[in-house]
């Protein structure tokens, strides 16, 4: 029972938190334009900072998109480096406005190689105002660092509960400075985060980009809903498996109680002769079964939550997706109460057997 409840608890927590996190991380963006490749990969890498980017696009081409009459706002981002696995994002100051981020201390960047860091970055790395750090090549910490050009922290952001907490923000120039030898003066960015002036552009604009350029435009809501549909099927399979484990454990409780009662029927009959009423024995046996069920299901919830908490901890340190806060106690309570109601019904059968026991016959047969 503990295993079943643990699995279903983790499944529910992860499922709900994933949905919540994906929703929180997207501050109303309509599209992301980037290099051709998997649209889902483009969304995950540019908004949720999970996957690797599909490639780079020319900044010159990006500027044409920024000026397109259908576009209300466009924020360029450029990825490439990290500090202790926290991604360094080259962008402009509109990125902060997009997430309605406020500075906890310091200021925004005003020149290259200055950085504003998210809440979790500061917490985990102990970076603070006026401290310096050097970025590592790539999006995972490999130790291959840009030692010659360190960043200076000029600002620390308040907690937003979004992916911003796990990012290091700097100007596009900073990223271009570090990678100028690679780009040979040809400026590139990873992607553009777009909002349309009119929602009807959601149909025409991606077609324009996808067919008319060597770039692609992907819709965050469409791609994420496709992903969630896929993962929800996996969650369903895990949930069915958990339900099966829970049911098997309840059958186990049932037969354990029944077996105990058969073994102890003589002792139970003795208790009746001493003055224990049938009702009292009924409640004792029921309590035994319910204690197993309540302790098992509660431990399952606790273990599930601990596993979730471990995942939460590792997500801050090593991964970009933050699992958010526990605010779906209703679902877990519903499972807990359902399991215990089923356990209660299951326990009634052996209890009724005890209730109907004929003391004299039992004592004589023993």
């Amino acid at each position: 029972m503990i295993i079943g409840i643990t699995i279903i608890t983790v499944s529910i927590l992860v499922n709900q938190i994933t949905k919540e996190t994906f929703s929180k991380n997207n501050p109303g963006l309509d599209a992301v334009v980037g290099a051709k490749g998997s649209p889902l990969q483009l969304i995950l890498s540019s908004i949720h900072h999970i996957d690797i980017p599909t490639g780079n696009i020319s900044y010159q081409n990006a500027k044409k998109i920024i000026k397109h009459p259908a576009i209300k706002s466009a924020i360029p981002i450029s990825l490439g480096d990290n500090f202790q696995n926290f991604r360094i994002v080259g962008t402009n100051k509109n990125f902060l406005k997009l997430y309605k981020a406020n500075l906890n201390s310091g200021t925004e960047w005003s020149k290259p190689m200055q950085a504003v860091i998210g809440h979790n970055v500061s917490k985990v790395t102990n970076l603070n105002i006026n401290k310096f750090f050097v970025g590592s090549h790539g999006l995972i910490d490999t130790g291959d660092v840009h030692a010659e050009q360190p960043y200076k922290v000029v600002g620390v952001l308040n907690k937003t509960g979004t992916i911003l907490d796990n990012l290091i923000l700097t100007s596009l120039d900073s990223v271009w400075n570090l990678h100028s030898d690679v780009n040979k003066g040809k400026l590139e960015i990873t992607s553009l985060l777009l909002k349309y002036k009119n929602k009807t552009s959601a149909f025409s604009f991606p077609r324009l980009i996808n067919k008319g350029t060597n770039m692609q435009a992907a819709s965050p809501s469409f791609e994420i809903s496709k992903l969630l549909k896929l993962t929800s099927n996996a969650h369903k399979i895990i949930d069915y498996l958990s339900v099966l484990i829970i049911l098997l454990s309840l059958v186990g409780v049932f037969f354990t109680l029944l077996n105990n009662i058969n073994e102890r029927r003589y002792d139970l009959a003795i208790l009746r002769t001493l003055g224990f009423s049938r009702l009292k024995l009924f409640s004792i046996i029921l309590s035994e079964g319910m204690i197993i069920s309540i302790v098992g299901s509660t431990l399952g919830l606790i273990f599930g939550y601990l596993i979730y908490e471990s995942m939460h901890y590792f997500s801050i340190v090593g991964r970009s997706i933050e699992l958010g806060q526990l605010n779906f106690l209703n679902d877990l309570f519903l499972i807990w109460i359902t399991v215990n109601i089923i356990a209660f019904i299951t326990c009634l059968v052996p209890c009724i057997k005890v209730y109907k026991q004929n003391i004299r016959t039992t004592l004589l047969n023993s």
Binding site: D267, A269, I270, L271, R272, T273, L274, G275, F276, S277, R278, L279, K280, I359, R360, L363
Partner: protein, 213 residues
């Protein structure tokens, strides 16, 4: 007062006994005797509320036992009757003390002094933590007696308490039962076919099953 009116009991269509009537005043002792198989133990079960008679009524101080609901019969037994069964009916996996504690729990009283005094009187004070399974027959008999007196019941029923014991032990057990029932001011109803018992306890009434009453 224990009053039995026209108690009859049939088993598998066969009449085991019929029309048993008796009146036993409080603190008076009754011996029920008769040959084996005559229904002495069945009568004890009926008197204790463990077996409903085919007809008739058992009245304890104006309470008609079989007019009570089954849960109330259990409660009445626990609070007012003490029973020493022929095969003791002790819980073998429990210790000596635990057997007394569980009897005490049944009626909702708890007193470790009482357990100690009881065990002391039956000579088992130094064996309170030994499991019943490891006791001798004589010790089990003494424990069964001690358990019957937990809660100081008004009526004590003993089923063949001495029949499997030698003269010395039979004497000890009979004296113990008599002393404890006097101390509790309880009526003793003793069932036996052991003829030695009448020389050990002075009964105010004798009911001979299978003979003319």
């Amino acid at each position: 007062m224990l009053k039995c009116e026209n108690i009859s009991f049939d088993i598998d269509g066969h009449n085991l006994f019929s029309n048993i009537n008796l009146n036993l005043k409080n603190q008076k002792d009754l011996l029920i005797t008769g040959p084996s198989g005559i229904g002495k133990t069945t009568l004890l079960s009926i008197l204790c509320g463990l077996q409903k008679p085919t007809s008739g009524s058992i009245i304890y101080n104006d309470i008609d036992l079989y007019n009570l609901a089954e849960n109330e019969v259990d409660n009445f037994r626990g609070n007012n009757l003490g029973v020493v069964f022929q095969n003791f009916n002790l819980i073998n996996s429990f210790t000596v003390k635990q057997n007394l504690e569980i009897a005490s729990n049944a009626i909702g009283t708890k007193s470790s002094d009482q357990y100690f005094n009881l065990l002391d009187r039956v000579g088992l004070a130094d064996k309170s933590h030994i499991k019943v399974a490891n006791l001798s027959i004589g010790e089990k008999q003494r424990l069964a007696v001690a358990r019957a007196f937990v809660g100081e019941p008004q009526w004590i029923f003993c089923d063949e308490p001495t029949s499997s014991l030698d003269d010395k032990n039979a004497n000890i057990i009979a004296n113990l039962i008599k002393e404890e029932s006097s101390r509790c001011k309880a009526s003793l109803i003793l069932i036996t076919h052991d003829s030695r018992i009448q020389t050990l306890i002075n009964f105010s009434k004798i009911l001979r099953l299978g003979e003319e009453l």
